[in-house]
Amino acid sequence: MAVKKFLKQVAGLFDLRKQKCKDKKVCLEEAVGRLQARQVELEASLAEEQTEKQRNKLTKQLKVVTAKRQKGEKILQDLAEQA
């Protein structure tokens, strides 16, 4: 079992799908995707949070994450129009 796991890890190092993104569009899409996921998480956390201090903190994070996601989507849109 341990040997299988080890071999999988070694194979993963050569997995082209996991290679670093070199294309700007691909990197941006990945970044925007992560922000979307983060936004959903923050919204869920905010809905559950009771303490005011934590709610303020989460609200600020959510604002910035949303703004960055929107900025990222605009850049992707511009790239698509240029292409």
């Binding site: 341990a2 670093k20 700007k24 990945e30 970044a31 983060r38 910035v64 960055k68 850049i75």
Partner: protein, 598 residues
């Protein structure tokens, strides 16, 4: 020493060339072989790059994994020296532990025995020059390509070609040398011969810095009948001991862990050698038994030498593995950890400069070291205790409690614990980044910027401190409250950075985004509060101007610390980092968010 030894070696060689063209051929064969080893090492260094380092990082959590890595990597690269150097480099950078490093060295010793098998089983039995020529041609053509992958492959191919060519010339040389002089008449039998030829093996390996070269000479001489089987076995033992000189040389520029590993290497190889000498007769019985069972002829001395070489190294591992714990303890006693000198770099060292990924990781760790020292300066500069920042205590409530001013010479502490480290980081990165691939240069640049941001933050805290220590104990509650707010706000940022630092690879930078927005909101709020406080006469004009200046410093401290956090804990990948920068909100966009809360 080099001034004496080198001319002597040259003189001996020149005399040998003059009296014997066959000796010339053998020596040239050795030189070509060694040249091939250099090419091979360069090829693997360029070709594997970060992959080797990534594999090393993931395969060293268990001893058997480290040993397996040592065996496989050395078998493929045919160089235990390269594997040792990589291991020492990783150990010096704090990326693997000592036990893992020792495991790799043990495995490398076993992996290197595949060389003898390749030479005895393949190299001597075929027309090896026929394979060498095309490998050289294709290899050199590839080596001239611009692509890093092609170049690396070219070096490997050409390296193998030179290796084969070297073996061919040594083989030919010894065959014809036999007609002139029969070296086997100088064979020394018995225990004296064992010790003498072990010593010759050690000497030859130290001079050539390659146990493979010594083994090739031994095997080709043995195949030509120029040395006896018994003396060849002794040479193999000597080669095994002499090979740790490379590790020792590599450890000179390493830190205490690197030296411990070199010592472990020496202890292992000497122990293995002694065991082989003491149990020679018993091992030879086992060699003969194995040879008989795997179809090796009783008089195939070269293959039996290969069995012997693998067997005594395996025996060494079987003896040393159960003693690993004791070995590590002894090494820690012989090389105790130097008292943590906070002013000296902990990770920067010359052993890491050959491997780009390791170099970047080393610089990152050193900048984190700088941050750890800076954390003390920043916290105390704000008259906050580090344990309070690290705790969950409400910093606003904490700062409202009666203050006791910390006795703290910020200039002295900055000079001793921060500036020295920063200087070292700048010097090291300037010197080493010139030959790095672009991606690694960019990463080093980002880390250096993070170090600069940390230092700038300290300088701004230094500026603020004079007024801060005056007003946090002031009788004026309004000015006291404003300065305490600044302390709490900056304390929150330090707290968040500490969380990111502790999270390591799992660091989530979203918290820094929130702090950026908070920082902008604080700035707007403070300006409004300042106007009100002045209008209502709750603070004097000098207090107001001090607060205005210090709020600017405070803003800059926050900005620099957040930027340092992004640099230190942000994406390592160049593409993702660029994407993060593209979508980062600029000051205007952030300002919009502050002014439009909806």
């Amino acid at each position: 020493m080099r001034k004496i030894v080198l001319p002597i070696i040259f003189a001996v060689l020149a005399y040998g060339f003059w009296i014997s063209p066959d000796f010339k051929q053998i020596a040239a064969g050795v030189a070509i072989f060694l040249f091939g080893m250099l090419f091979l090492e360069d090829g693997f260094k360029a070709y594997t790059g970060g992959v080797l380092e990534k594999i090393l990082k993931r395969t060293t959590d268990k001893l058997w994994k480290s040993m397996t890595f040592g065996v496989i990597s050395t078998s493929i690269m045919q160089s235990s020296s390269l594997v040792s150097v990589i291991t020492i480099s990783f150990l010096s950078a704090g990326l693997i532990g000592l036990t893992a490093g020792i495991g790799i060295v043990f495995g490398a010793n076993l992996g290197t025995t595949t060389g003898a098998w390749l030479i005895a089983g393949f190299g001597l039995k075929i027309d090896i020059a026929a394979y060498a020529m095309p490998m050289l041609v294709f290899g050199i053509i590839l080596a001239f390509q611009s692509s890093k992958t092609a170049k690396g492959m070219g070096y490997i191919l050409a390296g193998l070609g030179f290796l084969f060519l070297g073996i061919h010339h040594m083989k030919e040389g010894f065959e014809t040398f036999k007609e002139t002089i029969d070296l086997s008449q100088f064979a020394v039998p018995g225990f004296a011969g064992l010790l003498l030829y072990t010593g010759i093996g050690i000497f030859a390996t130290v001079v050539m810095q390659s146990s493979h070269a010594t083994l090739v000479i031994t095997i080709t001489a043995l195949a030509a009948g120029q040395i006896t089987y018994e003396n060849a076995l002794a040479l193999a033992i000597g080669a095994n001991i002499g090979t740790c000189i490379t590790a020792i040389l590599g450890a000179i520029s390493a830190n205490v862990d690197g030296r411990r590993l070199a010592a472990a290497h020496l202890i292992f190889n000497v122990t293995t050698g002694v065991v082989a000498i003491v149990l020679m007769n018993q091992i030879l019985v086992v060699v003969d038994w194995i040879a008989a069972h795997i179809g090796i002829a009783a008089d195939d001395w070269t293959l039996k030498l290969s069995i012997f070489h693998s067997l005594f190294n395996t025996l060494g591992i079987l003896i040393m593995v159960p003693l690993m714990g004791n070995l590590v303890k002894v090494l820690h006693q012989i090389f105790p950890q130097p008292k943590a000198d906070l002013v000296a770099p902990l990770y920067l060292n010359e052993a890491v400069t050959e491997f780009p990924d390791t170099l970047v990781e080393t610089v990152r760790k050193e900048v984190l070291h700088l941050y750890d020292n800076a954390f003390e300066v920043l916290a105390h500069g704000l008259n906050l205790h580090r344990h309070d920042i690290r705790s969950d205590a409400d910093l606003i409530e904490l700062t409202q409690q009666p203050e006791k001013l910390m006795e703290f010479d910020i200039d002295d502490i900055y000079g001793r614990k921060v500036k020295v480290l920063y200087n070292a980081i700048v010097e090291f990165t300037s010197r080493t980044q010139a030959d790095l691939p672009q991606e690694h240069m960019e990463r080093i640049y980002v880390l250096r910027e993070a170090a600069r941001d940390i230092v700038e933050a300290i300088k701004d805290v230094k500026h603020m401190r004079k007024n801060l220590v005056t007003y946090i104990v002031s009788d004026n509650p309004s000015i006291k409250a404003e300065y305490n707010k600044i302390r709490a706000q900056l304390g929150e940022i330090l707290r968040e950075l500490t969380t990111l630092r502790d999270a390591g690879e799992a660091a989530d930078l979203v918290a820094l985004d929130g702090l950026r927005l908070q920082m902008e909101e604080n700035d707007v709020t403070l300006n409004g509060d300042l106007d009100r406080l002045i209008r209502e006469g709750r603070i004097t004009a000098p207090m107001a101007t001090s607060l205005m200046n210090d709020s600017t410093y405070s803003y800059d401290v926050a900005k620099n610390l957040i930027a340092a956090g992004a640099g230190l804990f942000g994406p390592h990948d160049l593409g993702m980092r660029q994407a993060a920068e593209d979508i980062e909100l600029d000051d205007e966009e952030l300002d919009q968010l502050v002014r439009n809360p909806g």
